[in-house]
Symmetry: C2
Subunit: 338 residues, 2 copies
């Protein structure tokens, strides 16, 4: 790469675009689909059911402790497929880049996308690059869209149609790490806490449960809006409620401290490697043990259960013996965390 | 909608996000997939082969004669699927919105996406919304990703592996309209020319040819980089060349005049409703007649042919009797036209 920053011409569809695609995207994401550089990639449907999901990533800053926008874009979309019960297979990646963005930084980001995709067992098979003038975008935005294939037996996981009172609610790890890592990256001079984003692809962890044929009744990754929003969504307009216990929800000391300092509730801070799993009471222990055996689940915890009472409401038993309703956040606690 | 502009909270994943999704996206894109509001949409694979493509749209301005960024985002992705020989079926749509963007404008854009999707016979089944602070994006960027299904007989269209010398090159309409419509929208006071973008979904037009079993050897929509770039790509590193005749390439008077005024070559100006089709000589007339019977193909023209000579090179015979090589553009002729 002769030029050390992104030029408008890199998004023109002309020779500079072609050079960027060959020297960066095709080189790092290496697969036969991309090499063909056609308008669409042609894939084989491996199963009758396809899971399809998309997310745009606008995280600020693009590099943060534990990851960068590229790693996040791959993990976020892989996780959205995995929590649907699908096996993630193919991703598209579309880049909107601000003119002047350093090519070295772009290469680092693309390299970590490739690394994460390899670990997750997915291929980045199609993409697009647009460049906008200086000041018209904030460095780099990435949109990833994913295709996964799904066995018919898992088609109800997304909808939670099998959930009944008594089902247990399990979390694979501690909450609030991603949001606080972003906060720290933004204001490094203010916080010395040792915090890293939990950004990770959860598909193998999830497959270690679903692959054993264990009856998972619902899953959701707790990203924007945090665990609190996911729990509120889980019961919204449903004929059941839920209750969780604050003391069972793992929160790292450093995250708790930082949240206290700035007045945030860890329950609403974003995660990028946290999944909420609802399973029948009879299988809760087994699922918990499986999760704990995986590095991404070693802090797994049974945090509560589905109830027949207070339908549509999520309650949390607080440390001091009280209980309160978990609402969705109205506004924005911390913009651009993903 | 109580608020008349987009707030950061609309991208938070909290209640404002949910309201926006329900009142706008679910309402306009109405389909069972979106209503479920799950992480991934679960689709049935209708055929064994899936075409998969993505594009980000950053067009400036977001409204222009003949369309807007939403219509463009739907048509662009539908066309990328259609030129692969696939039947476009499902789209995802991901929005990156600048804080303060008028909700009315967003509604107009979403409504025209819905209208275009309906016409094209595709469903927008999953999406995402991110909001960035004022000044951190330019109004609105949309990324659409598409899934289409493909009959095995069309799998070579993308690659052009069946192309042989003598094959004819057909264009469905006049070139340069989209790029010049954008230019006019940007500097309305300077140009009075009556120009509209050609932005349109071409899948039905293309199906009117492929559906008859006519042997299409290659297709590509001529977007960024214009017809010139597509022709240069068609022969790049191939064992054949091509020649086209300038006089057979339709260019509207108004577009030609505006191009002359600002020193652009219509051959490199972007289109959003133009497809280049390569067919065997024996079927060229039939394809031409089929195209001409459709409003989107009424200006269709046979512009040239594949040659055994000057392999890897695209030549154009100019009006004044000369000929020159059609190169890809190096840089950016007109940024942010799509």
């Amino acid at each position: 790469m002769k030029n050390d920053t992104i030029l408008l011409g890199h998004g023109s569809g002309g020779t500079l675009s072609h050079d960027l695609i060959s020297s960066l995207f095709v080189r790092y994401f290496q697969n036969a689909f991309l090499q063909k550089q056609t308008d669409s990639s042609l894939l084989l449907a491996e199963k009758e059911m396809i899971a399809f999901t998309t997310d745009s990533f606008v995280v600020d800053p693009v590099f943060f402790p534990g990851g960068n926008i590229g790693k996040l874009a791959v993990c976020g979309t892989v996780n959205d497929l995995a929590v649907s019960g699908a096996q993630p297979k193919y991703l598209s990646a579309s880049f909107i880049i601000e003119e002047g963005f350093p090519l070295n930084d772009l290469e680092t980001i693309v390299a970590s996308m490739a690394e994460e995709a390899l670990k997750a067992g997915v291929q980045i098979v199609t993409g697009d690059t647009k460049v906008v003038n200086r000041g018209k975008a904030d460095k780099l935005f990435i949109t990833t869209t994913g295709i996964g294939f799904l066995d018919k037996q898992f088609e109800n996981i997304s909808y939670g149609t099998q959930i009944i009172p008594g089902d247990k609610i399990i979390l694979n790890g501690s909450v609030g790490n991603h949001g606080m890592a972003i906060m720290k990256a933004r204001e490094a001079d203010k916080f010395s806490a040792d915090i890293e984003s939990d950004c990770a692809c959860l598909n193998h962890l999830i497959a270690s449960v679903t692959g054993k044929g264990l009856p998972v009744r619902w899953m959701r990754d707790a990203t924007r809006g945090g665990l609190g929003t996911v729990l509120a969504e889980l019961v919204k307009e449903r004929a059941f409620g839920l209750e969780v216990h604050e003391e069972y929800i793992p929160v790292k000391r450093s995250v708790e401290g930082m949240c206290e300092l700035i007045g945030f509730d860890p329950l609403y801070v974003a995660n990028e490697g946290i999944v909420v799993i609802v399973v029948p009471e009879t299988h809760a222990d087994e699922v918990l043990q499986i999760l704990k055996a995986d590095p991404l689940g070693k802090e797994a915890s049974l945090i509560g259960q589905i109830t027949g009472e207070h339908q549509g409401r999520a309650l949390i038993h607080t440390g001091i013996g009280g209980r309160r309703i978990i609402d969705m956040l109205a506004g924005e606690q911390l913009p651009r965390i993903c």
